[in-house]
């Protein structure tokens, strides 16, 4: 054991440690890496941190943090900060990855079937009582305006960023699906590029599955969902709200990776239900739009009339099949956290399969018995608003004051549809460089899935780290960091 890990506390039975087993032994898939680090002095680590910081600064990678943890209401004053990559990568062995890959693909496939059936189909799951109609009608992301808008191959969730956590026995569980505009893939690619320079030898010693085909895969999927009328060489663009958006870096990055245009709403115009891009050579037809603008801002004719970010007439063009909008309009209905609770049932219903990845145990509070049971043990549970993401507005019972618990009790009683409660998942921990040495910090995993004609899951994904000691919130907006995530090809050789 290296001196760097001498003081490391794997957390005993309270947490699942990604690197160390229950008796303190290094898990087989980490042996080579730990052996390599054994030769490092603190100075070696310092030097690598310097290299890392220089790489990221030169790339201009930042992430805007909105307000504080009190909620998205305070969202207007963002500050830019870097989203730091930890020096120690996370490693996922091939058999474990096979389960994750299969589970994510299954989930995305079922959700695409459900959303397509809801917006252009017969609503079989609703009619058969799998998910209540009123629940969908009251979901924040439900869009009546999306009814009748087709998406080829039903690939409504063209990009999904499914958030996974591991509980105390190491089981991967789905926390959120993120079917609207999941961000973070640029960090996956940048982390990998940086890691090959920060730990070049350690990286070269292992067979790590590549991630750099993400751009080509995304472009292929975008072309696959082009309307049939687009012909053999459809034109795709990335539509961004603009440089003031927190993820603008990623929008520009993805456009560059795919070699396609990055446009804002004002760069597009609709004429006779066809979308065109204004170029120096005149108007050029656009067939697929990878949009990173929220539904409500897409088209002022049907959504918010004051939106200056969107394209007037865009939905009409999509409706007649002249352009495909990806991700599809209205996906947010399935991001509602109460609808999330029904996803395992939707998998069984639409695919006839058992879910590979379980949900986190979730309680629905409009049902009196569940609500009363939850209210009696709020100090043991996590409560989340159904429409929020990014870790905003949550109650983490075990860490909450009596006053905070009282506030959430009132909120739940006033609006039981507006919240869900979940069992606390202690979240696995991973050694993370803090100051001079490694300490255990909670991590999650956001694998990215791309759906076109088929579903492809990019090996690994974004591992987010809660840098604050003991914190269970890994979101970048809440002071999180990230790790390069290695999926090893083949079995570990042992060291």
């Amino acid at each position: 054991m290296t001196a760097l890990f001498d003081d490391y506390d794997p957390g005993g039975p309270r947490f699942f440690d990604e690197v160390f087993g229950p008796t303190g032994e290094v898990r087989p898939h980490y042996r080579e890496l730990v052996a390599r680090l054994r030769s490092f002095t603190p100075q070696d680590l310092d030097r690598r941190e310097v290299i890392r910081d220089r790489i990221f600064r030169s790339q201009g990678i930042t992430f805007t943090v909105y307000g504080d943890a009190s909620g998205p209401d305070s969202a207007d004053e963002g500050v830019e900060r870097t989203f730091p990559m930890d020096l120690l990568p996370r490693i996922i062995p091939v058999d474990e990855w096979a389960t994750v890959e299969q589970g994510v693909a299954q989930r995305v496939t079922a959700l695409n079937r459900f959303l397509d059936d809801l917006y252009v189909g017969e609503q079989a799951a609703v009619n058969d009582g799998v998910v209540p109609r009123w629940l969908l009608h009251t979901a924040d992301g439900f869009r009546r305006e999306a009814f009748g808008i087709p998406v080829p191959h039903a690939a409504r969730c063209l990009v999904s960023g499914v958030d996974l956590v591991r509980d105390v026995d190491g089981t991967y569980r789905v926390l959120e699906d993120n079917l609207r505009n999941p961000s973070g893939i640029s960090y996956v690619l940048e982390n990998r590029a940086a890691m090959t320079r920060v730990l070049p030898v350690a990286f070269a010693q292992q067979r790590v599955r590549p991630v750099d085909h993400y751009g080509p895969s995304l472009l292929r999927a975008l072309r696959e969902v082009a309307p049939p009328a687009a012909g053999e060489h459809p034109t795709a663009v990335v539509l961004t709200p603009g440089q003031f958006n927190s993820a603008y870096f990623e929008h520009a990055f993805l456009a560059r990776q795919m070699g396609i245009e990055l446009v804002e709403g004002r760069d597009l115009v609709v004429d006779e239900h066809v979308v065109y891009m204004r170029t120096t050579r005149g108007l050029q037809r656009v067939d697929v739009i990878y949009r990173r603008i929220d539904d409500d801002f897409l088209d002022p004719v049907v959504f918010r009339p004051d939106s200056a970010l969107g394209v007037p007439g865009l939905l009409s063009a999509a409706r007649v099949g002249n352009v495909t909008i990806a991700n599809a309009v209205g996906n947010g209905v399935a991001d509602d956290k109460a609808v999330y609770a029904f996803v395992p049932d939707l998998i069984r219903y639409y695919l006839g399969e058992d879910p590979v990845l379980p949900n986190v145990d979730t309680y629905l509070l409009w049902e009196r018995e569940q609500r009363e049971a939850v209210l009696a043990r709020l100090h043991e549970l996590v409560v989340k608003p159904v429409a929020a993401s990014g870790g905003y507005g949550m109650l983490i019972g075990p860490h909450a004051s009596d006053q905070e618990i009282a506030i959430f009790r009132d909120r739940i009683e006033a609006d039981p549809r507006g919240y869900i409660a979940q069992e606390v998942v202690s979240l696995s921990r991973h050694p993370t460089l803090v100051g001079e040495g490694f300490e255990g910090r909670h991590v999650d995993l956001r694998p990215f899935a791309i759906a076109g004609e088929t579903v492809e899951v990019i090996p690994g994904g974004l591992t987010r780290v809660a840098l604050r000691k003991g914190s269970l919130v890994v979101n970048s907006s809440q002071g999180g960091g990230s790790k390069d995530t290695w999926v090893l090809d083949g079995q570990p050789t042992g060291a």
């Binding site: 209540p132 109609r133 009123w134 009608h137 009251t138 009546r144 305006e145 009814f147 009748g148 115009v269 609709v270 004429d271 006779e272 239900h273 002022p300 004719v301 049907v302 009339p305 007037p312 007439g313 009409s316 409706r319 007649v320």
Partner: protein
């Protein structure tokens, strides 16, 4: 009653504008009470009009004018055959609207919406009307409907953003206000209600006479009317041993049931779901908007080939396409 409707919207801009995109909801529905015989939309400058049926079942015509223009005129022309529908004589007791399946089915029409957001005064008024009625849902519905007699029609005094509480406090408004207020009262009593937009064929203001058809295929002079709004209420009934709902259409502005003179365009939670024209354009915002609705009554079964009044196979097919 066979009616011709010509709905004209005209925008005159202070300076040329470009890239106008619009959605029009002006087409009479085909349903159990009325049958669309003919419909077309033309625009000046001309444009390619594409239509679809929205979530609520309303036909929407979408069109855009990209080049510079200082005038935009949209004319929707329709011929529609309307009838009156018998209303149920009795219904189930009020407990029927508490049924879980019933409430789930009509959930969207029981909730508050942007323009149907009631407060204590509306709730109290609704319950006051209901308390005076019997236990039958139909009696409650009619009591609320007749309660609108307290309100005065006050054209030009309100705007679409007015709340139902303000309408009640003001004691009057225009048809949209009456409809929103009635919808709010029904919903706060747990009775599903929807907002209906349409046309209302009034008597000829100039002569005071009803506009009668004379001669075979004869056509009366056009009457200038306004777009109108009313409500539909889901009333639980028992027919042949089965529970079902009958939609009862009521016109709170005119304090009458909806009949042959009412031409339905569309239905929704409130005005926003059926707003006649929504659009966006680039250019200076100042413009003058004028809206005109002209209606005339046609002979039901003309003997000759009167333009716009026949039920040719082509027209029938067009009507079928829109169902």
């Amino acid at each position: 009653m066979r009616l011709d409707v010509r709905y004209t919207t005209r925008f005159e801009y202070a300076a040329p504008v470009v890239e106008s995109q619009n959605e029009l909801r002006a087409c009479p529905a085909s349903d159990h009470r009325q049958q669309l015989v003919h419909y077309d939309v033309t625009t000046t400058p001309s444009s390619r009009v594409s239509w679809y049926v929205d979530y609520w079942g309303t036909r929407v015509d979408a069109f855009g004018v990209r080049g510079p223009h200082q005038l935009l005129e949209v004319v929707a022309s329709a011929t529609v055959e309307t009838s009156a529908v018998d209303r149920p004589e009795t219904s189930l007791p009020r407990a029927a609207v508490e049924d879980v399946g019933f409430r789930d089915r009509y959930h969207e029409l029981l909730e508050r919406s942007a323009h149907v957001d009631w407060g204590p005064a509306v709730t109290a008024a609704a319950h006051r009307h209901a308390a005076a009625a019997g236990d039958d849902v139909l009696e409650v519905v009619m009591a609320v409907h007749e309660g609108a007699a307290d309100l005065a029609y006050a054209p030009g005094e309100t705007y679409v953003g007015v709340s139902v509480e303000e309408v009640l406090a003001a004691g009057g408004g225009v048809c949209q206000d009456f409809a929103h207020l009635a919808v709010a009262m029904y919903r706060c009593l747990g009775i599903p209600a929807r907002y209906v937009s349409g046309y209302f064929f009034t008597r000829d203001d100039a002569t005071g006479a009803d506009v009668e058809v004379h001669g075979h295929g004869g056509v009366e002079a056009e009457v200038e009317v306004e777009t109108h709004a009313w409500v539909e209420v889901a009333v639980p009934v028992e027919e042949h041993g089965h529970r079902r709902e009958r939609w009862l259409a009521l016109d709170p502005t005119n304090r009458q049931p909806v009949g042959e003179r009412h031409v339905t365009i569309g239905r929704g939670r409130d005005y926003d779901d059926v707003a006649p024209l929504r659009g966006a354009f680039s250019g200076p915002a100042e413009h003058e908007l004028s809206v005109s609705v002209r209606m005339r009554r046609l002979a039901r079964e003309p003997l000759g080939g009167v333009p716009g009044s026949g039920t040719s196979p082509q027209h029938q097919q067009q009507a079928q396409q829109q169902q």
